[in-house]
Every structure is written in C-alpha cells, then in structure tokens.
C-alpha cells in the first residue's frame, strides 16, 4: 500500500517507534523484576498484600470491562441511530473522562459519591467505589470502540431481516451483535488493560485500605516508594502478563469473528 521504498521503511519505523516506547521499557521492567533472581520475584508476587491487591484489581477490572462494553454499546447506539437535541454535546462529553487528570477525576468522584455526596450516594472506601472510578475512566473506550463500526454498518441486512419478519431481538442477536462484537471485545480489552493499571482516579475514593480496597497499582506505588523497585517491577510484570493473556485471547476471538474479512 505504500511506494516500494516507503514500504520497506514504513514497518521499520513502526517497529522502531514501538521498541523505543514500549518494548525497551517493558524489557527494563522485566529485567528489574528478576534482578535478584526468580526466588525474590516469586516472593514479591506472592506476598499476601500483593495477592490481595492483584485479586481485587482483576475482579474489579473484569467487572468494569464487561459492564462498560454493554453500556458503551447502548450509548454508541443512541449516538449513532438516535436523534435528539443536544446529541452533539452528549457525544462530546463522552471523551472527557480522558482529558481530566486522574487526580481531578478522583477528587470529583469522592466529593460527589463519597461521604459529602449531594445525592446521598456514598461508595467511598468500598469496592463499589473502585468500580465506579474505573467505569468513569474507561467509558470513552467502550463507546468509541463500537461507535465507528456501528456507524459503518450496512443497514440493508438489518432492514431485510426485519422486513422478512425477524423480531428486534433476533435482528440484534444475529445481525448486529456479530458485526459489533469484535469492536466491543476490542473496547473491553482496552478498558480492562487501562483498569488494571489505573491509579490516580481510584486511589482517593477507594480509601486505599490494605487487603480491602488497595488496588495493585497502589501497592506497586508503595513498593516503589519503599525502595523496593525490584518488587514493584515484579508485580507490574504480573499485570503485564495478565494483560497480554487477556488481550491475546480477545485478539484470537476477534480473528474468529472476522473469519470472512477481506485480506
């Protein structure tokens, strides 16, 4: 797709960029985590507090990724297929969780849904608070991953199906969902990956209580502040591995869905 000369250097440049920004730093993390041997890596990863934090993080992140996929689909649907005054504003608002620094997000969520909540909703110091904060920061993925695909959808098949008598749920299940499922999965994968690494917006509303509401990234931060960089890297490595597995699995499933894709 590029001119012959560019074709050769294009991928090279891309791989170089990826190396400088991702591969080398991740290699550095891996290297640091095994700095003192596999034994100390294992100890760092199986410490009670590390395990508790990892478990909490994984459960909350999976919940949020799954829940926000559905929410994202609904919101994307409304943005693409529905018309109402102020739709442009609503669409613009969807990306804002990203633009807000995580500390501001954290403070705001604490003030709105914590002890001083004007709505009487207090989810601070509880796991549900973590889920709320994670849902906030990952929503843009869930919506924007599905939205372009939904917008490009060929309506003819849908219309043909319903004109032939298929009910809404059949049309949804057999025509629409298969088309957007890959994108939903992609969005869920991104949401999951972001959620397991998220720190700033979660740490205030969660209360950060060890073994109860302390997420993995907070424990990693504590380790790095206590001069235990190798242990911090070790726990980070675990998160990276989990993300790789989840993202790889999602990629595989998406490839199955896209079996007929034109390549």
């Amino acid at each position: 797709m590029l001119r012959p000369a560019a074709r050769a250097s294009g991928p090279t440049l891309i791989v170089t960029y990826l190396s400088l920004l991702v591969l080398l730093p991740i290699a550095a993390i891996l290297s640091k985590s095994f700095q003192n041997g596999f034994g100390s890596f294992w100890t760092a990863v199986t410490q009670p507090e590390a395990l508790a934090a990892l478990k909490l993080t994984l459960i909350c992140s999976l919940l949020v990724a799954a829940f926000n996929s559905v929410a994202g689909l609904v919101i994307a649907w409304v943005l693409v297929r529905d018309e109402f005054p102020g739709k442009r504003v609503v669409s613009a608002v969807v990306d804002l969780p990203f633009a807000l620094p995580t500390i501001v997000a954290g403070l705001t969520l604490l003030s709105l849904y914590g002890p001083n909540s004007p709505f009487g909703i207090n989810v601070a110091d509880a796991r549900i608070g973590i889920v709320l904060a994670l849902a906030f920061v990952t929503l843009p993925f869930s919506v924007r991953s599905v939205q372009p695909v939904l917008a490009e959808l060929d309506r003819e098949t849908e219309e043909a199906a319903s004109s032939l008598g298929a009910s809404s749920s059949v049309v949804l299940r057999r025509v629409i969902l298969p088309s957007v499922a890959p994108a939903m999965l992609a969005g869920a994968g991104l949401a999951f990956a972001r959620a397991i690494g998220e720190f700033g917006s979660v740490v205030l509303i969660s209360g950060n209580l060890p073994f109860k509401t302390e997420v993995a990234s907070s424990w990693i931060y504590s380790l790095s502040q206590s001069d235990q960089l190798s242990a911090a890297a070790a726990v980070s490595t675990v998160l990276i591995l989990i993300a790789l597995i989840v993202l790889g699995a999602i990629g595989l499933v998406r490839r199955r869905f896209n079996v007929g894709e034109a390549v």
Partner: protein, 342 residues
C-alpha cells in the same frame, strides 16, 4: 460536486498537518528560556509541603545582598519520589526532604556528602510535630492518643509504605505509648489498634488531607505545618496537639554536584539564619534556632521525643517499615487476613 467536500477536507487535513510543525516551533520558541541571572541559577528539589514557604523565602533572599540576582528553579513533589529523581539524575543544588532516610539515599549515591548532618543544626532546617486534625469544634472531643482508638472514632493516615508522613504519624503513636510508660509490646499492640481504626490510608499526605476534607474520618494525623497551612486557607478544621508527640525534623543539604555551590550555600545559610528562620516560623514551621522559636507561640506538648530516642530512622525503617516483614507490615497482614472478606 460529489468530490468537493472530499477535496475540502483533504486540504483541511493538509493544512492541519502542515501547520503542526511551524506551530510547534513557534510555541517552542515562546517557552520562556531559562533565566541567565547574575548570581546564576539554583535548583531546589524539595518535598511538596514547603512550596508556599519557599515562594516567600526566595523573594526575601533575593532582597538580601547575598541573594541579589540569583534565580531559582524549584521542583516540589513527594519526598521519596524527589529523592529517587535526584539519584536518577534530576539536577539539584539544594535538596530539602521531609525525613532523613530520603537524604540517606542521596548520601549513598554520592550526591550529598556524608557530613551533611554535622552542622550546627545537625542538617535540619525546620521542625514540626505530629498533630491531630479534627472537624471544626472537635465534636468527638479527641484529645489524646487513647481517644483515637475509641470505638466511634475513624482515623485517616497516609499509607506508611508510600508516604513518609505516615511513618512519622505511626512512630509518634508508638513513641507516645513508650512515653506513657508502656512496654514495647504494648506500644506495638497500640499500633494494631490504631491501624484497625483507619477508614482510609491514602497514598500521600496530600491525598490524606483531601480525603479528610472530603468528609472521611473523624481525625487526620498530619504534620503540624500542613495543618496550620490548611487552617490559614480557611478549611473548617481544628488542630489538636497531642500531649505526647514526635519531633519532625526536615533535612536540607547542598549537593556535591552543585553547579552553583556558592549561591546554593548562601541560600541554605539564609534559610538557617534568624531572618530566614523567622519566615519559616511565620509559615507554620517550628524554627530550629531556639531563639527564633521562642518568638512564636507554638503549642508545647508535655512530651516531645525524637526519632533518635526510638533508634533512629535506619533502624526504625528496617524494623517497622520493610514491606511484608516489618512490624507494621505484619500488623497490616494480620488485620487484613482477619477482616478481608475474600
């Protein structure tokens, strides 16, 4: 006709793409260049709390003969992170941390001379104490360390593994028990009670203050100077000085790699001078010079002990705050295993 919107958007994109480089260059040129002042530039790397104090101090120093024409580039952040940054190469002429172990990191890396604490103030520039911050009017009547562990009291303290401030807080509680005549075992048991009463353990002192101001908990353990600053900013709090507390000592030093040692040394000398110490006092820090401290009416607890009386930071850090094997880590694990609901 069908192609015109495409053409229009194409040229729009081209314009955008073409415009990026020159705009970046212009913006880059507009960024203020580092000042080239006659006295040179001094980079300060400090913990986050004293920023307002330094704003005043730098201005006052510039007004003196020794400080005329010296420009400053200050960096403020979490004490531990700042120390790590300096070790990783962050340029620093003057370093000021919230507790000694962060300075030790720099000594170990050869960035600060090992005789940094041999001066007349033992290397310290300011003092403070651990105080209780409660809701305005002290509705739960919290006065002593024993009150903290009453059944209806919830405590906010930062996480001791990510915050130096939290370490001071916990050692204040521990030392207070010893000062009351308890044994070490009893003091450790007190720490267990203290930690089981925490409603939140935010990752930093700043987050802890925000959490408390956000409505969590009944009492926040904090540096007195932090609390005084919050009060000056109009926050609805009351500061309670516990009858026994620890003396917080904040170290300062000029680095060996300083590129402007003379101005740096002059600045530190100013900070330690009666004039400089007076400014610190006005900012809520207890001066290290006794004659200046006497000019201010800081509360005087019955018993103020130092970390030295508890063994010094190196011993205390190892014994209490080593993640997963330290005394505090073991307490957290014990509490976690019993209260974590899977």
């Amino acid at each position: 006709m069908k192609h015109s919107p495409e053409r229009r958007t194409h040229s729009k994109w081209r314009l955008v793409a073409a415009g990026i480089l020159p705009v970046s260059l212009v913006l880059g040129a507009l960024l203020p260049a580092s000042a080239s002042a006659s006295g040179g530039s001094v980079s300060i790397v400090a913990y986050s709390t004293p920023k307002p104090a330094y704003t005043v101090l730098i201005k006052a120093f510039n007004a003196t003969k020794a400080g005329a024409g010296v420009s400053f580039s200050p960096s403020f952040g979490a004490s531990g992170s700042q120390a790590t940054a300096v070790v990783s190469g962050l340029p620093a002429d003057v370093v000021n941390f919230s507790l000694t172990p962060d300075m030790d990191k720099l000594v170990k890396a050869g960035i600060v001379s090992s005789s940094w604490d041999k001066g007349p103030t033992a290397g310290m520039v300011t003092n403070s104490i651990v105080s209780f911050v409660v809701r305005k009017g002290n509705p739960k009547n919290i006065k002593t360390w024993a009150d903290l562990v009453k059944s209806n009291v919830k405590i906010i303290t930062p996480n001791p593994f990510s915050s130096g401030s939290a370490k001071w807080n916990l050692m204040a509680g521990y030392g207070a028990q010893l000062a009351l005549g308890k044994t070490k075992a009893q003091a450790t048991a007190y720490l267990t009670q203290l930690l089981s009463h925490t409603a939140a353990q935010p990752s930093s002192a700043s987050n802890a203050l925000q959490t408390f101001l956000g409505g969590e908990g009944d009492v926040l353990l904090a540096y007195e100077d932090d609390a005084l600053y919050a009060q000056r900013q109009g926050e609805p709090i009351t500061i309670v000085t516990p009858p026994q507390t620890i003396l917080i000592q904040n170290p300062i030093a000029v680095t060996t790699k300083s590129t402007n040692a003379s101005s740096a040394k002059a600045f530190v000398a100013y900070l330690l001078s009666p004039a400089g110490q007076k400014v610190w006092g006005q900012q809520g820090y207890r001066p290290v010079l006794p004659q200046v401290a006497a000019q201010f009416k800081f509360p005087t607890p019955k018993k103020v002990f130092t970390i030295a009386s508890l063994g010094g930071w190196t011993k205390v850090n190892t014994a209490f705050f080593t993640p997963s094997t330290g005394i505090v880590a073991k307490i957290e694990q014990g509490l976690g295993v019993s209260t974590a609901s899977g």
